[in-house]
Every structure is written in C-alpha cells, then in structure tokens.
Symmetry: D2
Subunit: 133 residues, 4 copies
C-alpha cells in the first residue's frame, strides 16, 4: 500500500477553544482540507463548475486521543480506497510529529452528487485519482 498523503496544518488562535486545545469539530475541517489536496483542488473546482458534480460527506467517525495545542504544526495523514461505485472511504489521522500515536483518527465516507443533490457514481477521474493515491 502506498504511503499516506501528508498535509500539514498549523494551529492558530482561531483553532483553539477555552480549554487551550483544538475545538473538536475542527479536525473535520483539517481532514477535509487534506482530502481537497489529495484529490486536487483544481480538479475539484473543475468537476464542480464544468460537470456540476460535488462531494458530500456521507459518514464520519472520529476518535480523539489527545488534543493539539496553539502553536502546534500537525500532520494529517490520509489514505483512500473505493467503498463502492458510489462511495470513497478515507482513513485520516492527525499526528503531532514525533509522537508515539495519532492525536485523532477518523474514517470519512464521501459520495458524489449532481447539481440537484442527486447521488451519482464516482466519476472515472476520481476513481483513477483514488487508485493512484
């Protein structure tokens, strides 16, 4: 299996809450940023504007082990596999470099929808991108 895709996220004031740690919902944002880079930002924009196809999250399951802090620079490590003709399954983890285990782990399933929000098969270009990842 290929090495995971790595996307670096800097933790700013905006990311923390009054506990001093990253607000739990923000890991979904970091995972989504990483998926955009893994799939290709320009390809996503083109798919949406030219073909009217967008991605939607179908399910998300997260486990929180430890919290990132202001000033941390964390790594999002992502792998992806096709779940079906309609679904891509991402395994994503947030790591503080050098730590013995991931801070947060997640499994996120994505589907594709057309302009009316109707479910469509994953486009061939996306499947090729997933298989190459």
């Amino acid at each position: 299996m290929a090495a995971p895709h790595v996307h670096r996220v800097q933790i700013y004031y905006e990311d923390t809450d009054h506990s001093g740690l990253v607000y739990h919902a923000n890991y979904l944002k970091y995972f989504e940023r990483a998926r955009e880079h893994l799939l290709g930002v320009d390809a996503l924009v083109r798919l949406f504007e030219e073909d009217g196809i967008g991605f939607v999250v179908y399910s998300a399951a997260l486990k929180y082990r430890e919290g990132a802090r202001h000033g941390d620079s964390i790594e999002i490590r992502s792998t992806v596999k096709p779940g079906s003709a309609y679904r891509a399954v991402f395994t994503q983890e947030a790591w503080r470099p050098g730590a013995p285990r991931a801070l947060v782990t997640g499994e996120i399933e994505l589907c594709c929808v057309d302009r009316e929000g109707k479910l469509v098969r994953l486009p061939d270009s996306v499947i090729a991108q997933i298989e190459a990842a």
Copy 2:
C-alpha cells in the same frame, strides 16, 4: 429614533479561543446573524432565490472594549439607516446585560449584488424594511 433591534446570542465553547474569551472574528458572525433577523431571514432567502439578489459586506469597523466569556448570553443591538441608493449602514453593539457599556461596537456597510456579483441598487422592499426598523 426607533429602539434598536435586539438579538440574543449564547456563547458556547465553539465561540471562545484559548484566552477563554470570544475569538474576535466571531463578533462579525453575531452582527451578521442579527442583521439577518432585522431584515427577515425568509425575506433574504426569497430575495436571493427569486430575484438573485444577495447582500455583501462592503466595510466593517469594529472596536473591542471587553471580551464575552463562555456561558455569557449577550445582546446584539442593531440600528440601520440608508447610506445611499446602494448602501445600508448598520450600527451594531454587543452588550452583556446590565453592563455600563458595550463590549464591542461596530459599523457595517452592506451592498446588494446580482447573480453575477454586479452592484445593484437596494431593492425597494429592503429600503422599506430599513426605514421601518
């Protein structure tokens, strides 16, 4: 002059940053929520979907005196006046009830744009709404 429009905002974990106070950018969100209620959420949705007209922020000027905390229930007090045929000017303040002065004060100017993002005059329905506020 009419009494200001009052919109109540509860401060949750998501609103604070590691200082324990509300993250400064969030007051722009609270002011925007209050403007949606002042102008009428349903009217805004209809204006956008039927007439293709949306509001955009043209300028925002904020002064921060004191920060709201987790658990606070603050009031956004808003007044509005027409700035020109193209611009509505909102004066908005965040108050902790019973406090001697506002936590944060702002002046926000809004314009209207069509589906292509081109500037258009404020619709008559909006001017009427502003004059009645």
Copy 3:
C-alpha cells in the same frame, strides 16, 4: 424513556458553504450547543471554574442523510445515557421540522478531565443530570 431534549438552531450564512448547504463539520457544533443546554450552561461554567473539571469529546460518529439550508430552523434532539463511570453517551439528531427522517444523526461520547487533562470519573452532579435527562 424520556422525551429527547430539543434545542433549536437557526441556519445563517455563516453555516453554509458554497454548495448552499450546511458545512458538514458544523453539525458537531450544533450537537455541542445542544449538549451544553442539556447539561446546563451555568453548571458547566461552575464545574470548570470551581472544580477544574471539563468535558472532552472522546468519539463522534455521524451519518449525513440530507443537508440543512440557509434560512432553515432545525431541531437538535438529544438523549443521553451513562456509558461507564467515565463516559456519557449522547444520541443526537438534526431534524427539519415536519420531515419524515433526521437530516443528520450522531453518537457522541464525552469524558471528563481535570486541569491537567487527566481522565476523571463523571462528577455525581453530572450523573444525576444525565439520569434525569
């Protein structure tokens, strides 16, 4: 079993993304707001400030069926049961009133930590609150 706790959430511009639907991570925010009301905002502030005890999310599992839109007023319906001496388990759903099924459903597990971030048992006051909910 008791009726679920209901918390109403208005969907503003800030909540949507360029798809016109609510950004997927925001449902974690709405669920968290609902939990704060269910457990009592003042009780949470007191627990944190006086006893140094805070809640952290241990796991979150979400299924997305349909997206809320700008202008929607949705209901978060929440129930809670103790998972163990250390864990509270919330079942939470986002409903558009009158719809035949929930837009989004989730199961969220919370733990308590002290000021050093060490896991502690759920305080008696919280267990009482959970059992009464």
Copy 4:
C-alpha cells in the same frame, strides 16, 4: 520601508458561504494567521506561557472590494508599526496573485494584556520584532 510580510492562504470549502465566495468574517482569521507568523508563533506561545502576556484585538477596520473563491490561493501582505507604547498597528491586505488591486484591505490594532486581562505595555521583544518587520 521594508517589503510586506507575505503569508499564503488556501481557500477551502470551509471558507466559503452559499454565495460561493469567502465568508466576510474569515478575512479576520486570515489576517490573524498572518500576524502570528509575522510575530513568530513560537514567540507568541512562549510569551503567553512564560510571561502570561497575550495579544488582543483593539480595533479592526476592513474594506471589501472583491471576494476570494473556493480553490483560490491568496496572499496576505502585512506591515506593522508601533501605534504607541501600548498598541501595534497592522496594515493587512488580501491579494489574488496577479490581480490589479487587493481583494480586501484592513487596519488592525493590537494591545497586550496580562493574565487578568489588564492592559500592559508592548514587551520589548515585540517592539524589536515590529521594528525589524
């Protein structure tokens, strides 16, 4: 005068609202991320943890000319000068590379506060950093 500090921001789904453009409050986040890098993230963390000194926004004035879109990679260009012994004044702009003018411009004033939230003079290390910027 020195060249402005440049910080690059990628625009993700999370940044846009239903207009397809970046939600207006987010520019305050981008400007803040840029200030953290200009002042030094590690220096800010150390100042807060060791000396109990944090920065707070005192005022913010923004003008919006054009909106960034999903997929854009914009530049935040920042300069800073001391406003007084208590205040640092940042001039910050968001640029789409190659565009004839800034999308959004802002002037943001910051103060320093101690652990009790009391106003304190800008630390010498910060003044040195500002004068070198």
